[in-house]
């Protein structure tokens, strides 16, 4: 049985259990039918439902982005969309991508599936709450879509007052939708923290947790500490529109810059909610595909916590030009640079892990390596933005747009793709077409850079963001960027195609196609309903690739009296 009290157990009857490559039963075959899915408390099914929802929203968000880019092929106002529609496009694109895609993507979709498996638990601590979070997410989404259907939204994803207190669009409904969504995020965070504290398998000490778990732990802490502030900010914004409370509305005596503090107090940490889980995936993929112990386990584990903590104190770097006091501006700038150090440590630790490894360039690894390249660019340009005098020039230009696409799309989303390809066999029990996978990753890499590199240039040349029209000088950059976004679309469609294809036509996936040592690979693909046939026992560190696989396939023998040949006594 799973227990957190593992340290108390002095010796256990353990036995090697080699997972079958051809399980007869798994969580997909056991509880079937729409109703079973909708009422399931199984973290794996909930994870898959999140994944489907996130993909759906990503397709919508991406479609809006492509529309928007198509408009920007020309800088004139004679176009198939007018200025108000354009404003709604980028607002909805940004809001959907941030609140509906990136925040839940890795933790709630992949994390839900993988976290209990990696801990050797049967489920998360509060399975019903987990299902509840999913429904809260769906309800939030429905609200938002009602809003879009009603009047749209044109405030930008940042909802700055006083524009948002007076805009004629459905600000109220959307904020309410996002408010509901916030609870989903808070509850998931609470659930994960409790799970990690209480449901680790026997022998799974903090020092033996996979780095992905550490990353999810840091993420959950940020979610619990930051999201409530977003919630109260949105409540104030809603009350602003319903009751005219005016705390943020200058027309009523409030202070609009205060809103920016409140908003960024959540939204800067939120960017770490998005990127830290991506770091978790990176650690898993890089070790697996270089068959090598991670370099600097504790540095990577604890730097996530450091990023989480310092990340809370830098929000004002979005407000350098806002009229915030020079003292605050200086302090925020200083702290901003400190975030770069732990992040840099991670990047370099992964590089060092590659050194003398046994590297196989399968699709997940290709994504992981492009992450290293692209995210570094995103991070370095973050440093540019943190530098006071330079940010005064590039703030609210396409330079910022390029920066955050490099970190969010090039960082998180590419890590998500890495994770998705990595765990696809575990989740679905099917292998995708490797060749198409490689082509897909190349298209994404090329398309991405073609789309967003030109934006750095035009941004520092002075092209402001959220512009429906632009002066001729910027046309070449915009055109290049739009072409890039078409390449990206082709790439994503290809990925969508071969992944779906694999569901029906794919080869059966073995239990451990990549030869990983992690716990989730020591059960069948897909896993059984309760994850493991036998509660796993952990004796090695998670990335001990120099030890034989047998030592990772241990479980507590159910019938302790019976003495089979394989039974060994292990000190834990």
């Amino acid at each position: 049985m799973t227990t957190a009290e593992a340290t108390k157990v002095k010796s256990l009857k353990v036995q090697r259990f080699q997972p079958s490559d051809n399980p007869t039963k798994n969580f997909l075959t056991e509880e079937k039918g729409v109703w079973a899915w909708m009422t399931t408390v199984d973290h794996k099914k909930i994870g898959i439902m999140y994944l489907v929802a996130v993909t759906f929203f990503f397709a919508i968000g991406g479609f809006l982005a492509v529309l928007l880019r198509t408009k920007l092929l020309s800088g004139s106002s004679i176009s198939f969309i007018d200025a108000n529609q354009y404003n709604q496009l980028f607002t909805l694109h940004g809001a959907i991508m941030v609140f509906f895609v990136l925040v839940p993507s890795i933790p709630a979709a992949l994390g839900n599936f993988i976290l209990p498996l990696q801990l050797g638990a049967k489920d998360v601590a509060f399975p019903k709450l987990n299902l509840g979070s999913f429904y809260i997410y769906v309800i939030g989404a429905i609200f938002t879509f009602i809003a879009i259907a009603a009047n749209g939204l044109d405030t930008g994803w940042t909802f700055y007052t006083p524009y948002s207190s007076e805009s004629g669009t459905s600000v109220l409904l959307v904020t309410f939708g996002v408010f509901i969504l916030g609870f989903s995020s808070i509850l998931t965070g609470t659930n994960f923290i409790t799970t990690i504290h209480k449901l680790r398998a026997p022998g799974m000490t903090w020092g033996k947790m996979p780095l992905n778990v550490w990353a999810l732990y840091a993420t959950s802490i940020i979610q619990v500490l930051a999201t409530p502030v977003l919630a109260i900010t949105l409540v104030l914004l809603m009350m602003e529109r319903v009751l005219g409370i005016g705390i943020f509305d200058s027309a009523l005596g409030g202070d609009p810059v205060l809103f920016q503090h409140f908003f960024w107090f959540y939204s800067h940490p939120a960017v770490y909610i998005m990127i830290v889980p991506a770091f978790g995936i990176m650690s898993e993929v890089i070790t697996t595909f270089s068959r090598k112990t991670i370099f600097g386990y504790w540095a990577i584990a604890l730097s996530s916590l450091a990023i989480a903590f310092v990340g809370f104190l830098v929000w004002g770097h979005h407000m350098f030009t806002s009229g915030q006091s020079p003292i605050a501006t200086t302090v925020f700038s200083f702290l901003t640079f400190l975030v770069g150090i732990p992040t840099g440590m991670k990047i370099l630790n992964w590089l060092a892990t590659l050194y003398k490894g046994s590297i196989k360039l399968d699709t997940p690894m290709l994504y992981a390596l492009s992450f290293l390249f692209i995210f570094s660019i995103g991070g370095f340009t973050g440093i540019t933005l943190g530098a006071l005098s330079v940010d005064i020039h590039v703030h609210d230009t396409y330079y910022v747009v390029a920066h955050f696409h490099y970190v969010m799309m090039g960082g998180t989303l590419i890590a998500l793709l890495a994770g998705l390809h990595y765990w696809w066999p575990k989740i679905t029990g099917k292998m995708y077409n490797e060749t198409l996978g490689k082509i897909g990753s190349a298209l994404i890499f090329i398309g991405f850079n073609v789309t967003f590199l030109p934006q750095f240039v035009m941004g520092s040349q002075g092209m402001p963001r959220r512009y429906y029209n632009y002066i001729d000088q910027f046309a070449p950059f915009h055109i290049a960027s739009t072409i890039g976004s078409y390449i990206l679309s082709v790439g994503f469609l290809l990925i969508l195609y071969y992944l779906l294809h694999s569901l029906w036509k794919g080869k059966r996936a073995p239990a451990n196609p990549w030869g990983s040592r992690a716990l989730e690979w020591q059960t069948t693909s897909p896993p059984p309903l309760h994850n493991f046939e036998h509660s796993p026992v952990v004796i090695n560190e998670p990335y001990d690739y120099h030890r034989p696989m047998e030592e990772f396939q241990l479980g507590i023998a159910l019938d302790q009296g019976e003495d089979s040949d394989h039974t060994e006594k292990e000190k834990v």
Partner: protein, 105 residues
């Protein structure tokens, strides 16, 4: 993680009652300090908040059982307070030091 959940603390009626009395006393004290002995600012608010913190301590330690609970739960409560102060403190860095205070209108 070794949590000492196996011996749940059960408070006696007397303990609980004393805590409630303590809280009542502090409530009267804080009203007395504010309305009868009116201290000049900032001392008034300092006294009021000190009393409030003392009350919070009583509620947290004895009603919420933190006195007997695992340290981690204490950390969560204290941590979230510290965190709140951090958030307020840094925001005040802006709002108190704007070179051009809000014009009156």
């Amino acid at each position: 993680m070794n949590t000492s959940a196996h011996d749940h603390h059960i408070s006696t009626v007397k303990q609980l009652f004393l805590v409630a009395m303590g809280l009542t006393f502090l409530t009267f004290l804080t009203v007395f300090m504010a309305k009868v002995i009116v201290l000049p600012e900032p001392f008034g608010i300092i006294v009021a908040l000190t009393i409030a913190l003392a009350k919070a301590f009583l509620v947290g330690a004895f009603f919420m059982n933190l006195y007997w609970d695992t340290k981690f739960h204490v950390l969560l409560l204290v941590g979230s307070f510290l965190f709140f102060f951090l958030m307020v403190g840094v925001t005040l860095l802006d709002t108190l030091y704007r070179d051009d205070a809000i014009p009156s209108f």
